[in-house]
Structures are given as structure tokens and as C-alpha cells.
Amino acid sequence: MSTTLRNEPAITPELVAAHGLKPDEYQRILDLIGREPSFTELGIFSAMWNEHCSYKSSRIHLRGLPTKAPWVIQGPGENAGVIDIGDGQAVVFKMESHNHPSFIEPYQGAATGVGGILRDVFTMGARPIACLNALSFGAPEHPKTRHLVSGVVAGVGGYGNSFGVPTVGGQVRFHSRYDGNILVNAMAVGLADADKIFYAAASGVDMPIVYLGSKTGRDGIHGATMASAEFDDDSDEKRPTVQVGDPFAEKLLLEACLEIMAKGCVVAIQDMGAAGLTCSAVEMGAKGDLGVDLDLDAVPTRERGMSAYEMMLSESQERMLMVLKPEKEQEAEAIFRKWGLDFAIVGRTTPSKRFVVRHGGDVMADLPIKELGDEAPVYHRPHVASPALPVLHARDIKAPMPVADALEKLIGSPELCSRRWVWEQYDHVIGGNTVQRPGGDAAVVRIEDGPKALALTVDVTPRYCEADPFEGGKQAVAEAWRNITAVGGKPLAVTDNLNFGNPERPEIMGQFVGCLRGISDACVALDFPIVSGNVSLYNETNGRGILPTPSIGGVGLIDDFTQAATLAFKAENEAILLIGETQGWLGQSVYLRDLCGREEGAPPPVDLAAERRHGDAVRGMIRGGVVSAVHDLSDGGLAVALAEMAMAGTIGAVLDAAPAEIVPHAWWFGEDQGRYLVTVPDAHLLGVLTKLKAVEVPVRQIGKTGGDALAIAGERPVAVAELKARFESWLPDYMAGKG
């Protein structure tokens, strides 16, 4: 082919650099194709070889993750992971970040993030039944935070509500390290027939490749490259065209796709996400060992005069690429027209294993298809382990205030207060299956008419990951496992979203490697394989990285939703049992950070064997119907967990003083891992204690439910109503600009 086409800029070192390709990467392209690439080809390489699509910094480390179990149908590598939940049913799920776009335009960035992950799930043939989201914002006092919270939450809701999927859970946190780099991680969960899962690999030569959905515009050109670039103070100037989400179009796309899948029309299907047409077409061909010949003149466009380069890199939303059975083409087209969607044959599969792009009579690209993906650079980036921090001793930490005052302060703090202001903007009841709404440990979503249900959660504690990546990685997985267990679910599998800073810095790469090792160990020990995930690197502003934030999305199964547990105290005079070992670990606790002003020390270690033993015992008690309320302990420790149970049930508790061997503030606010609180009616108490003893699970009765306050022996009682007022008011007040 001619290497310079009409109106195409010449390839200069500046142009190469502007595409985020390093000189040695460009050399690799020259070696691979044996000539200078065309402008369109350069664009294609930049899209395929950027961090976001190629995983070039993370790939070698991801290979070690545990991804297998008898119930895993599809692990990482497809649009989403798939697990078997019995009865011929499968659950399809994945989490993905939309961090940079959400910082630039919070509403549309978050909205299109949700749209993208929903598409990943229904591309595989599943009807989405739930969404979750994990959001990290800068410090509350940062001037942009309020605007970002408001836009992101409205955007997550705006898309999911209109699309018609309940958003049932998530996480929200504030920390100054996210000031210039917020995180928006969206997770979608869908339900499919286990024998009707659809994949991306094309098969058959000379099969028509069909473009479906919305038209292509100039949105987000270079979006994928941007998702892998650091920000600086000039990023406002580098704005690409923002992608705008159209949840209405996506809802039509969902219904149309499910309809043609049910009619048996589809051979292969791939949604157009990051790097749009380029990525989706290359993947379909490469996975199927086929070439792809695209004719861009057939692509439905929104704007006049779009170049091949623009069409190949556009990230317009709500689009799909499919290979259809030729004999079903007309039937499929009729279905798409009925739903008012564009339908065009834009190419064919070929035996050549080349990726050929034609436009206006010219060949704009002619590249080896396998190499585009497989030969992407892979980096063994240098990494250094984070220095180990000292273990703090509770006795060396002075309590700044009495326990009751501390509890009142913490429960109304940005870190621990209620997220109601957020989730009330999400339709969390649509579908009529949300058995447990947001506000509990894991959301519980009934499957069709039951009795099965899914337990869903997203967790990570970034301050632990920063202090000790390995323990932090373990803890994120353990907490997700614990939250599922606390509602009575059997944890089945994980999707992860690994958000880190600049991998070219050895300390950051060290965090990444450390967290991944921890995640891996925990997933193995807890039989909790990873089936899908996403990596977001370069989350960094002016050289300062975010806290390492590997969000863990967990999915568990409940055999009978009527037996799920909730955290609310149910009745007066029930025994409150603390399960698990309490040492009083204050290092990296919320108490130490927010009340003592010290972000210090080693985080609490996770003993994975104990974790499993304790969790299995708790799940057994839930199934046995002997516990009336269950809650796991996490941020804020014992006192905060008790307060959450009391507020949810509007019943107080009478509690013993801290045991003599533990400093009171460490007992009440320490964040030792692997712990749960349960309440037990008298009739079952003896049985429960005997059983726990038999399986060597530490347990201690710490008080009884009752009254309208949390009354700790020797402390000022704290009224549940007062706790609730503080718990519920911080976020709405903050968003209203009060206080």
C-alpha cells in the first residue's frame, strides 16, 4: 500500500509521541510491518498498544491470579466473567473504571462508565439484573469535590435508572489523595442460561460483520489513550470530545441483542468500548484466527466528513459489532429496525489474518491482525516493595476523648456516615427482586422468582493497601468474602478493578505487585476465583499517585433468599456475640486517622485460615436459623458495627466494659480482621456457643440488645436516635453546602 495518503499528516516523532507511543514502541511497529505506518495505522497501534487496551505493564502480573474453580464457566479474557449457579443458570459480571473521563465531565463520564459495563454484560447474552459502584473522591474540603460527587452520582443514577437496572450497592470514600484523580468503578451483574453464553471470537470465512446500535461521531477520540495518561494542570486544554451516554439507545440495544440471540442469529458479538471499532474488530478476528476486512464507507456516521482515522478511534457509545449467521441476516435486521437502531454490514471475515481498513476507495490500513494484540509490548517494570511500617501498640496511643464521644464523632464522619444521599438517587428497587437494599453488608438480589438469590458487594480499604500492599490486597478480598458471608451467601467469584498510580515509578509498581500477591493468596485460600477485571494505571496528578485502590467486586449465592441475614437488631434481650479474635489493632484505623490525626502504622493482618473458619461458622449459623442479626466488622471496629446494627433496628444495647487486658479505645475502635457480630435469641444461645467452641472459633458475649441507647458499662450512654441523626446528616449537609 502507499504509505502516505491524501490529506494525511506525515508521521513525525512528535506525532508518534502525541499518540502515547515511546520511540522503542514505534521501532517495534516498524519492525513488525516493515514500513512506515499510515496515519490511520498509527492511530490503530496507539489504541491497541496503550496501557488501557494492552495491559502492557500489568499483564505478566495478572497471569498469576487464580481464575479457576469447578463453577467458573468463563474466566478473564472475555467481555465479562461467567459462573455457574446451578439449575442451568449462569451469572455474568465485571467491573470497570471510568476515572479520567469522570474527572473531566463527572455526569457523562460516570454515565458512560455504567453504560460500558452494562454492555460488557449483555454482550455475553445476559440480562443485567444489578449494578454496583465504587467511588473515590478527594477530600471534602477540596474545592472540586462537591461538584464531582454531585455529577458522578447523578450520572451513575441517570444511566442505570433510565436503562432500568437496580443499582444495589457500592462504596464511597473521600481522601485528599484522590483530589485530582477521582475513581469511578462500575460493576454490572447479569443473568443468562448457562448454555447460551455468547463470545467474541468470529468463526467462518467470508462471514458478514455487522455494525449495530448508534451512529459513529467524533466522541472520545483518543479516549483510550487519555485513560492511560497522567493529568497535570493543563489537562483542561487537552480535552477530547466528551462522550455522551444515551441510556435510551442502550436499552433498545439490550432488548434487540437479547432478541436476536434468542432467535439464534448470532455467531460472535463484541461491544465497542475503549478504542471502539478498532479494538472490537481486531478482537473478533484475532480470537477467531481470522482476518477482517472493514469498509468504512458503510459505517453509519453522525457527522459529515469523518476520516478513517476518526472512525477507527471514535468511542461513540451504544454500539456493537457482530458476526451473524448469513441465513439469519434478514431476520436480525428486521429486529434491529423494529427497535429503531442502525444496522449495517461493514465488513467480512477473511482467511488472511490481516486487518484491512478501506475508506473512499483507498486502503487506509493493512496490518497483521494477531500481532496487533499479541505483539503489544509487555513490560517487566521495575518494582520496589513498600517499606514495612511498625506495628503500633494501643497502649502507646492516647485516647483523645471518651469512647462515647468518639463514637458520636465517627458515626457522623465523612468516612463512616450513611451513604443514603447517594443510593437514594439510584433506583435500587426496579425489578422487584432487591431483597436487601443498600445499607447492609451485601445487597441481596433474588433470581427471577427465587428461591435463589445473589449476594453482591464491592470492597477495598485503600489506606491498608498503601501501608502494606500485600496485607491490603488480602484484606480487600477477605472483606468482600466477609460481606457476602454476613448475609448468608456462599462467596463464589470475584471481579477486580485495580486502580493505581504511574507504573513507571518502581514504588507504584511495587504497590501493584504487592496488592496483587495479597489478592491472589486470599482468593486461593478462600476459594474465591477471579473471573474478570480491569486495570487503571496512571491515576496521578502532578506526580502524586492515588492511594492504591484495588476494588474487589464479590458475588455469592444464597440458596433461599428467605434465609438471608440482615444487620438490624431484631428484638430486645438477645445475646450479642463477638466472633473472632480481638487484639485491639489501631494501626491504620479510622479512629487513629480521624480522631488522633495519625495516618500511621501497619494495618491489621488477615489470617486467611481463621477468616475462612469464622466465616464458614457464621454462614452455618445463618443457614441453621439460630442467629437473628449478623454484621461483619470493618472500618471503625466494634463500636461502629454495633451502632450500625442498633440504628438499623432502632433498638439499643447494653454492653460490658472492655476486657481488662485490652485498652478500651482499642477494644471499641480497633480494626482486627475476620470478625462478626451476631445476635442470638436465648433459646439458641447455648447451642451456638457449644458449636463455635467445637469448631475452634473464638466467641465472646459482649452484651444484650435492648433500650434506646448504646450503653457501655462505665461510659455515657449514647442514644440511638442521636447516632442516627449524626449518621444520616453529614452527607446531605455537606452536599447542601452546610457546615
Partner: protein, 80 residues
């Protein structure tokens, strides 16, 4: 004093609303419409009579709240 701030989408930005309206007009039999893009107007009453000050005030209002300048343009007119 009365003023109008008109906010429109920047060109190149997808307008799902406009697209849906286009389709609806077609199915209602209103032919000849090639494209529709939707925007907003804000009719604002201002205290005081200083035109220059009013314009500055409205520009501030548009930047801070009425328009999302990442995807929208705006125009301010003081109408009297």
C-alpha cells in the same frame, strides 16, 4: 432588568434528545426536518439597572451553574 441566557450543546457532542425528537417528528409525519439539537434558555430577572454589571453577573451565573462548559456553549443577552 430582563435577560436571557441561551445554552446550546457544542458541535460534535452527541445530543440523544435531539435524535429522539427527530425520530418522533418523522413518525408524526412532520417531514423535512433534517436535524434537531436541543438547548436551554433561562429567562432571568435582575435587580438593579446597570447593564454592564448585569452582563458580568450573568456570565458568572452561566459559568458557575447554568452551562456545563465542557460540553455546552452559552450566550447572554440583556433584553431590557
Amino acid at each position: 432588568m430582563k435577560a436571557r441566557v441561551t445554552v446550546t450543546l457544542k458541535s460534535g457532542i452527541l445530543d440523544p434528545q435531539g435524535k429522539a425528537i427527530e425520530g418522533a417528528l418523522k413518525s408524526l409525519g412532520v417531514d423535512g426536518v433534517a436535524s434537531v439539537r436541543q438547548g436551554k434558555v433561562f429567562d432571568i430577572e435582575l435587580a438593579g439597572g446597570d447593564r454592564a454589571r448585569a452582563e458580568a453577573l450573568l456570565k458568572e451565573a452561566a459559568d458557575k451553574l447554568l452551562a456545563n462548559t465542557v460540553i455546552e456553549n452559552y450566550r447572554v443577552e440583556v433584553v431590557g
